[in-house]
Subunit: 437 residues, 2 copies
Amino acid sequence: LRDGDKKTLRAFLDSQEPADIATILDTLEAAEALAAMRHVDLYEQAQIFGYLDPEYQIELSDLMGRRELARLMSAMSHDERVDLFKNLDPVAREAVLPGLAKAERDDLRKLASYPEDTAGSIMTSDYATLTPDMTAKEAIEALRNQALDAETVYQAYIIDEERQLVGVISLRDLIVARANARVRNLMDTNPVFIRAEADREEAAQIISRYDLIALPVINGGDKLVGIVTQDDAMDVQEQEATTDFHKVGTVSGLKANVRDASIFVLYRARIVWLVLLVFGNIFSGAGIAFFEDTIAAHLALLFFLPLLIASGGNAGAQSATLMVRALATGDVRMSDWASVLGREFATALLLGLTMAAAVSLIGVLRAGPDIALVVALSMVAIVLVGAMIGMSLPFVLSRLKLDPATASAPLVTSIADVTGVLIYFTIATQVLAMQAT
Amino acid sequence: LRDGDKKTLRAFLDSQEPADIATILDTLEAAEALAAMRHVDLYEQAQIFGYLDPEYQIELSDLMGRRELARLMSAMSHDERVDLFKNLDPVAREAVLPGLAKAERDDLRKLASYPEDTAGSIMTSDYATLTPDMTAKEAIEALRNQALDAETVYQAYIIDEERQLVGVISLRDLIVARANARVRNLMDTNPVFIRAEADREEAAQIISRYDLIALPVINGGDKLVGIVTQDDAMDVQEQEATTDFHKVGTVSGLKANVRDASIFVLYRARIVWLVLLVFGNIFSGAGIAFFEDTIAAHLALLFFLPLLIASGGNAGAQSATLMVRALATGDVRMSDWASVLGREFATALLLGLTMAAAVSLIGVLRAGPDIALVVALSMVAIVLVGAMIGMSLPFVLSRLKLDPATASAPLVTSIADVTGVLIYFTIATQVLAMQAT
């Protein structure tokens, strides 16, 4: 590929999907990638460029002249263009702006103004519009003219003179309709929409819920300002799932691909929670130290310590995992708290009894009936308390307007560990003292 | 709503999205829901029905006559119809089949024959087809005629006499093309496709990667047998993320919504791993018991036990979380193992040193320099080993053709706990023996 003649290279590039070409370019040196990219036309260049990693986009941008970059940005879809613009350094931004048409500059500034994680930040402004008085035939003709520039023509948005959204129509409905039927009478006058300042995750959920191709976005003045498309919603859904996944594993704020992230970035994403959890575990250690006399008198108790406290932590981690995910997908809402808690109590009781049966057998064999009784009682109590903590913490965090995913398995485990130590040795001290008398 | 007059009810239903009507019906008694649903036309009934939970679909089906059910199923989209069919009990299946047209019966049987979790199991057979010799105008006319039945007309599939896929064209390209241009010359002759027996997650990933509206599915004989649409891909993506999420929290095989799941279902999804992990933790207990002499001589060591072994588990849980998710999204591949491992080693070393610095301070204050040294050394070693275990386990599972998500936080924590106990008390025994001499 590298030293190939131009014709073969162009034929090869023509036969490949833009996403695949982007993957191949990613393996080349930036200068080579840029040279290869120049063999396809501007429109395809823009498509390929849109599939590249943000960091690599910047690397290539730095190699381009500002005119070439401006031309490329003009050809990119509006949402990808603004993402690139946001990633450029201030000097590069100023350099590229004069090369763009005024309308493009204004569009860039407007799209770039929406805060991260809002619906506005993932929308695109290249949507197709119609007016209510068009006939179906005129509307199809209008869409044909907008087809090259619009992100999708399969959903068209009907706006009035003030750019307020008055309806939505699908190309499918237009094609099926009689040629002289009016858009006004064909359109859905009650379309699903979202506000620009809403959470981007909400936009993705709405698109998924209603199986939409695109979701219109309106601003504070009820004017149509953009659309969020289904493929962008898929990306958001995957990114949000990854963020929650990481949070549950106490990895925070890691945006880069794990394969490409630097050691320092990985370190920073992990150290804070690790250190916080160490201090949490000091309480467990203090709990053990507090019961040193009981332990010294019955060293056999130590054998069961890891499995008891781990069981509470594990049951709690299960509950927290279920709740964090259910709250994220909307399967469970805050108002379901009481009913979910009741069922969790019953479930945890069954789990605790089963586990108690399993360990009391080991207890009898290894340390006699007294300690077996202590272990069995502790197991039921510890699993029950662990599960209650794991279940409640995501709700509490959510109520406090914090992310429920902060209720990570390690955090729940640490809290359950402390209570586990206290429960175990309290029961042990009581029961063994009773037996001794 | 319940006792409302028919007119108001119908007007209300007309103004709502099918997905929202389904949500409302879900709160009614089955008989009431069925009565309400009968107020809209068959086509919309089928849409609403498709949005209902599988269990509720069955409940309503049981209330319908077999003729009514057959009529409804005829109107449903092919993929939703087969999902319903699979959920019916054998008696209901046999009852409903005679009410369907022969083509529908054959279609049902064919779609139902693909194993769960394959691309075939989520595809639909109501796709739009064209032939290569049509003109653009004829093609649009053909799509207009197929619009009512096809899941999407925005992508059309061009097949030859043997139903082999020879090309794909978008409605957008057809609309933009000259009226008498041939489909043969307009179509993409090298379309992205998937085999019916491939993993459904792979289908979702391809759709996301190439931003497709629909992905064609071909069978062993290279014949086109269906398409997977983007909205189904979104559902798959969300379900797979939920499954991985649950697995990482050691909850297995829970398909129902957490809010609706019975206590027994929740119990069953959790008990196996809890018990398995108990037995894993016995090794930690045995490790502690093995070092009883060292512990008895230096009870102060116990204070640091929870925070040391928890730190190894937490660092391991972080690594495992990162790897499980990266392998699931394709961000990291098996071939990246060596480079990821190298970086993880460096990261874990930094993490371990930071943590050692934090705890050695507590160690000196609480138990003097000897034990502080033991604790600091142990911390570095334990974090390093925990992180290596957490990072490697998902790769090992993946290599053994097992799901990497089985490397759950609790499993990694349990393994790290055992090694943590052994490392800590081994170092303690050595160092303290040295100091004593």
